[in-house]
């Protein structure tokens, strides 16, 4: 009796696998491939998962030249560069090139020039890199960083920034710019497909790596950047992440959001 169970149990399982396997790995791909002009061997390899693509459809062709909006890619190598950055060298470079506008502390006095103090290291690295590569253009910054190499950019970013976003980025900023603006910051606007600002620009949001700290930044600078994103004049945000957001905001909202985040 025991033996009967062993035999039939095993046969049952093997039969289930055999039927499923035969159909799924052989019959279906061969039949589908034939209709799509894919040879049987390729179709079977695709059905097993050894080759990419579908056994029932050829992969569409494309001819397109890469036109990246930034040359920065967040790879392990880039992270390593930032973790190993030399802050002392960054300080030295800052003393040479940055001090006259941004000061050594990063607390710039001019409200059209962004504060760097406590800014995300990743944000600083990306913007410096983009100025150098021409992905972002500014008549002051572009010539200043043209001859820096990747390591120097990393050092500068590490000097001014903090590896974790600084204490000046609480989830909601100081000044109260009205309930509607608060609402955009916390809840976005689903009717416009507008995500909340704090979905990215907050501690523990888990948003894109290069997200900058906004809190405590000059309102004038923030407003100028949002307007630049909205018009497309600034376009180094990967896959329109900021352009799509800024374009949905009215000018009044942009002005008030800038004030909200600046805390002024």
């Amino acid at each position: 009796m025991d033996r009967k169970w062993r035999v039939w149990g095993t046969l049952g399982v093997l039969a289930a696998l055999a039927v499923g396997g035969l159909l799924g790995f052989i019959v279906l791909p061969v039949v589908q491939g034939r209709a799509a002009g894919i040879d049987a061997f390729t179709a079977i390899c695709r059905a097993v998962g050894i080759l990419p693509g579908s056994p029932a459809r050829p992969t569409p062709p494309y001819h397109a030249e890469p036109q990246p909006v930034t040359k920065v890619a967040w790879t392990t190598a880039t992270f390593e560069e930032l973790y190993r950055a030399d802050r002392a060298n960054g300080a030295r470079l800052a003393g040479e090139r940055c001090i006259s506008c941004h000061t050594l502390e990063g607390n710039t006095p001019d409200p059209t020039i962004p504060r760097n103090i406590g800014q995300s290291v990743f944000a600083l690295y990306k913007q410096l890199h983009d100025f150098r590569s021409g992905s972002r253009v500014n008549e002051t910054m572009s010539p200043l960083v043209k001859d820096l190499d990747d390591k120097q950019i990393a050092d500068l970013a590490a000097y001014y920034g903090r590896l974790f976003r600084g204490a000046i980025d609480p989830d909601v900023s100081g000044r109260y710019a009205g309930i509607d603006i608060q609402n955009i910051v916390s809840n976005g606007d689903v009717a416009r497909g507008l995500p909340p600002c704090s979905a990215c620009h907050a501690t523990r949001a888990g948003g894109p790596i290069e997200t900058p700290t906004l809190t405590g930044q000059y309102a004038q600078y923030l407003e100028a950047q949002l307007k630049a994103f909205a018009s497309g004049a600034r376009h180094n945000d990967i896959y329109h992440r900021m352009r799509s957001v800024a374009a949905k905001l009215t000018s009044n909202e942009i002005r008030l959001l800038a004030i909200q985040y600046s805390g002024e």
Binding site: A36, G49, S54, P60, Y62, V69, A73, G193, Y239, R241
Partner: protein, 180 residues
């Protein structure tokens, strides 16, 4: 009532046979769709590095959206990222096979197109590919249906299905919502 254990087991087996037939019929529908209609779940297994997606040719920003390739195939390329689709609006022709290709540079996203059988996950590391024919014209919703972060609730795109005569590709074969 069954008088003996033997009769009990037989009644159970009769029932098991009946329900197995029922289950086989349901399974058979899947088999039929696969053999006769060549329908498969979206299984593209085409790998692509999410970290350098924005540096590639196929998924570079100007190449996104709907394009009619030289062989007449209509391909719509969309990138899903935190927290928007790009392009947020695409145009597709009705009654013609369309291939949607999606990729993500960051999180797991997913899409469905309301009222159609278009439904796929967009997993970073892979190009998702769905083939369909849009039967009814109109404005369809394409939300992100997988949790991708705090902005997930606002992540929505639109699909304009236009009749064939209104589907007019430009010199490069591209059709966009702005041009319509």
């Amino acid at each position: 009532m069954a008088a003996t254990e033997h009769e009990v087991v037989r009644s159970e087996l009769r029932w098991a046979a009946a329900v197995s037939v029922f289950v086989v019929i349901i399974f058979g529908l899947t088999l039929f769709a696969a053999l006769a209609l060549h329908r498969n779940p979206p299984s593209n297994l085409e790998r692509i590095d999410p970290k350098t997606l924005h540096l590639t040719g196929e998924f570079t920003e100007p190449n996104l959206g709907t394009r009619v390739e030289q062989n007449g195939q209509v391909t719509t390329r969309i990138v899903a990222t935190q927290f928007a689709f790009i392009p947020p609006c695409v145009v597709v022709p009705a009654d013609r096979e369309v291939t949607l290709r999606l990729a993500s540079p960051d999180m797991i996203h997913g899409i469905l197109v309301s009222g159609t059988n278009v439904n796929t996950m967009v997993v970073p590391g892979y190009v998702s590919q769905v083939h369909t024919v849009f039967r009814t014209t109109g404005n369809l919703l394409m939300p992100c249906h997988e949790f991708c972060g705090l902005g997930h609730s606002q992540m929505l795109a639109r699909v304009h299905v236009v009749p064939a005569q209104d589907f007019r590709p430009d010199a490069e074969g591209r059709v966009s919502c702005e041009a319509q």
